[in-house]
Amino acid sequence: MPILLVLAVLLVAGTFAVFRGKADGGDAPARITTLAATWLPSHRGEWGIAMAAELAHIHGRARRWCYTAGVLRVALFPPPRHAGRVVVVALAGLLAAAAATVAAASEVPTLSVFVAVMSLLLCAYLTGVAARAERPRPTAPRVIVGAVGLAGVAAAVAAVVRIAAADPTATTDSTHVFSILSALALIGYLTLALTPPSLGSGVNRRLADGVDRRPANTALWWGLAAALAGGAVWAVAALADPAAPGGITGLLSPVGVATTLAAAVGASAATGSRQAGAQAGLLATVLGAPIHFAVDMTMLLQLHHYTLTTAYDVNAYAHSGYPDVASYVLSDALAGSILAGLVLYPFGLLICAVVGAMAGTRLRRLAARSAAHPTA
């Protein structure tokens, strides 16, 4: 928990550093209002500008914060243009979620909570998309990023279902913590892959206006390339030595850090935009995490002989209540992969994305300076 807290503080501080000075030097409410205004769908863009402009005429810290809270509410839940369509999508989603949960309870009972939470979150996402009524023009990188994100999450879910089918005891989760955590993480990654955020930069607005797509597209390409490179390294490592103790878990940290940094530095150096670098790093992380999880779990499932390798595991297994070593090892690996691979490491990698984005713009400035004043 303290690690999570430190990571959260670092992430917030880094994000503020990245977006510093992007709101005409205003105070925190001004920055937040300007940022929130960019979240509105493009057809509500004028209302975002209107709300942000109104803040300049509001005095007093309490009133400014109160107003900002209202703007955040509007930005997160903008009034739908076609309320009827939203209700239809929500009802259809709820029915589909109920059907999926009933099917899971019958076929893979240990995954019923996971399936229920995941399908409800998916329903909420689709309802949100319908409410925003925004259809961004499908550019090539957007489509590929969405497809890779969808494939990664589908592969991760398939790996979990295969484990549940092969060894139901391994996916028993009496507290439901891991079921909920993994569903939240996977749908979060899917959401970010299908609707990559611009993190409040002007990039989003320009993209909506169709004026300049290059920085946003560059960020998407860098993020995509880094995630696929990471996935390739994990797949090759797993295929080269499928029986390696610990699988490819040990490679998560170095490969994840390298690909996230490469994406963030590359995109920000190429575009001169810290936001584009942060977006590329974020994308490398959210696309890479489900891929790593799927590769790790798939390779673990390929093993036909499971052994306890540490004294801790031998002792823990004796008191675990699992019927056999395979169930214990699979369950332990699954829980570890959810906690580390889907939650903790990606959180840390986001800090790398912010750091890499800042480093990339600095590199670009240094390169420009040395080009302008070449040494003899």
Binding site: A56, H57, H59, G60, V71, R73, V74
Partner: protein
């Protein structure tokens, strides 16, 4: 006779506030301050009214140095007729939400 669909109490209050002086352009935060509504409630109401063609919007032309132009609102002809029909359909005393609140400082 066409039945007037009753809006929420807050929407009715916004309509009545705008209908009081229908020719005058109003600011969003001024309406918030007058009616005691939060921005998170006021702007969705204004957006829905504009979507339905009941509200006309414009940008301030008189520039205040160092401040961005503000968005202005007033009822359209249809909006005025709708506000009148809403008032006629619910002629009771104003509820707490509808009752104008003291103007906030700094607004």
């Amino acid at each position: 006779m066409t039945r007037v669909r009753q809006p929420s109490a807050q929407t009715a209050a916004v309509l009545q506030a705008l209908a009081k002086d229908p020719g005058q352009w109003r600011y969003g935060y001024d309406l918030c301050a007058q009616l005691g509504l939060r921005a998170g409630s006021m702007y969705p109401i204004l957006i829905r009214l504009a979507d339905r063609g009941l509200l006309e919007t414009s940008w301030e032309t008189e520039r205040v140095p160092g401040r961005p132009p503000r968005h202005l609102y007033r009822l359209t002809g249809t909006g005025r007729a709708y506000a009148a029909s809403v008032t006629a359909a619910a002629p009771g005393p104003l509820t707490a939400a509808q009752r104008p609140q003291p103007r906030l400082e700094g607004a």
